[in-house]
Symmetry: C2
Subunit: 372 residues, 2 copies
């Protein structure tokens, strides 16, 4: 079985401001539990399944240099512009299919965090097996642990379809209300849509042809031009024309051959915002997640992250680093996140972590591009 | 009438950490609405009443150099060690009385903020008049605007004692419960004890003799030694022996000749903690007090103070100032105070501003002296 991992690294997420910036989006930050960037961890993780040399990263030209700094051994497919996940996945599938349409593709966002490599490998080996044997689109479903309204949900059929571990999908549900999410958590047939997929190139291209026919036409032109002098021009033109639609909305929600593998043997976090990020870390006895240079008084469920390595003195004409860490003190706080960087400090209520992107929008409106 | 202002500058308040430090306590910080330190503003304010050359600052030797940097023209009386306000005020009164016991003394904490100089002068001129004519201890009472539990309260007699504007004091009340404080605010006979006093040197020394006789004996010895070679030795010995008691607890609460002048023609703030400090400033439409380099999203009643002038990059071997301000963003916060300094960042709930001193205590216990 020929396998290729396709890593989607085009994200420009602004929810991790001030750590993330236009030139340094989330996938390039060490937002997991290790010191590696999310992209590095993702590549390492999937290399174990597909083997070195079989990892493809899809991203815009702007990030190519940065990607190669993080993961020099990957193959890069450049997307001419950000067009959401359907065109991006379709592009990778088309180019790979030109060589061998029966290649099994494992699709991963570059910016999620996973713990538990054994379980991860087990699930994806199974996913590859079913995808190679059947014309199905395999999704990986995570057992919901709380009524998260930022995730999509997958409902499975009751009885397994393959090996007692793979189920046909009954329905997809987009980000639900809190009441709906609560019902989904209580119902054992519902899973979080992890955004990780496995399918043969031919299967996903067929599904795109059925459900996003216009994109399919474009992809066929791109595939045809691939390897010729016209490739870049055709790619650009077809991407420009392509509708920016997600693979979930464009394909998965309509396709009849979607299956789900419930993955309970590894932990997964989409690192979608500062509050999701914080869930990866063990809290202290007061339920805070604090670095060594922070102290707390009467504070609970707070999170501090600082990338300022030392304290400093900046006065009109003097910049002097002091030989001590910067200290962060919390007094009487609940559910407060503090993200302290060189040129910007964010303080955010946990429940409003999704609104950090509004800061970025406001900075744009104010013309404060230096902070973007 | 001979007048001298006695400014008490011995405070080591830790409630303004991280702005205040052991070597730079509150009185030396620009915590008012101007760019002057609280000490500078206090000296300027009282010079208008007593005249230049008649301002005495009482403080420990540790602060002499700093005091002269801020206010080079004052006379300094050094206290050998911090012993609260009764010994400190008694010392100043004894030394001044050696020259002329009928000198009227105006006593001010160095670290309060006042707005409205005309009203201030009017009240203190009246206070000097009554203190010079009667053997009374004059307190300045501020009209309570809210049930503050951090202040002492003064209850006056119903009918005026002097010029329809000076009342005898019925009773002092120490920091009350919130219920009591609410009653005091509703009762028009109650005032906040501003900690500002006016009396003749002879009057306060007589009151100390009556109510803190042991201190009085020590002060007489110091007065006798003043101007001789033994002064420093005697001062040190007597201060070492003196009980550390406040003028309120030791004298004012017991004396029968205390009067109060209700001061409604200037505004006063004891700048006792970050929340009191914030009350001096006009809030924006969301009730926040923010500097130009802060932006807020869905946040209300927050306060930001930063003394970091520019942003900077500190990496292992590089310190580089960037040509932009440091940016502070608040998202979804209520009643949060952010104090951002070079080597330490404080984030504190408004209701817990009094607990900032616990941070300082914890730093001491942890041996983190560099941040004290």
């Amino acid at each position: 079985m020929k396998k290729k991992a396709v890593i989607l690294a085009g994200g420009q997420g602004s929810r991790f401001w001030p750590m993330s910036r236009i030139e340094r989006p989330k996938q390039f930050l060490a937002l997991g539990t290790s010191e590696e960037s999310l992209l590095q961890s993702t590549v390492k993780r999937v290399e174990k399944i597909v083997g070195k040399g079989n990892v493809i990263v899809v991203a815009s030209n702007d990030y190519v240099e940065e990607i190669l700094k993080h993961t020099p051994e990957v193959t890069i497919i450049e997307e001419p512009m950000a067009k959401n996940t359907a065109p991006c996945i379709g592009l990778a599938a088309s180019l790979i299919a030109k060589e061998d349409p029966e290649t099994v593709l494992l699709v991963f966002p570059a910016d999620h965090a996973v713990e538990g490599s054994e379980g991860f490998e087990k699930i994806f080996n199974l996913a590859c097996e079913v995808a190679s044997k059947e014309d199905v689109l395999v999704t990986i479903g995570m057992q919901p642990t709380k009524p998260n309204t930022a995730y999509g949900y997958i409902q499975r059929e009751e009885k397994p379809f393959f090996q007692n571990e793979v189920y046909r999908v009954k329905r997809f549900y987009e980000k639900p209300s809190i009441e709906r999410a609560q019902q989904y958590v209580e119902n054992k047939d519902f899973y979080w849509n992890s955004g990780m997929f496995v399918w043969r190139a031919s299967s996903i291209l067929r599904a795109i042809e059925t459900h996003v026919p216009q994109l399919s036409v474009g992809l066929q032109k791109i595939q045809k031009a691939y390897g010729t002098a016209e490739y870049t021009t055709v790619l650009k033109a077809e991407f420009l024309a392509a509708e920016a639609v997600s693979i979930d909305l464009g394909v998965m929600e309509h396709a009849k051959n979607v299956v789900v593998i419930p993955a309970d043997c590894f932990s997964w976090n989409d690192v979608g915002s500062w509050d999701a990020w914080a869930e990866q870390f063990k809290a202290d006895k007061d339920k805070n997640v604090l670095p060594a240079n922070a102290i707390s008084i009467d504070s609970t469920e707070c999170v501090v992250l600082s990338n300022i390595e030392r304290s400093y003195v900046v006065r009109t004409d003097v910049v002097r680093a002091e030989n001590k860490e910067r200290l962060i003190a919390l007094v009487g706080l609940e559910n407060i996140f503090v993200i302290d960087t060189d040129d910007a400090l964010l303080i955010c209520h946990k429940d409003k972590a999704q609104e950090v992107k509004k800061v970025v929008e406001k900075l744009k409106v104010m013309g404060k591009t230096a902070y973007l």
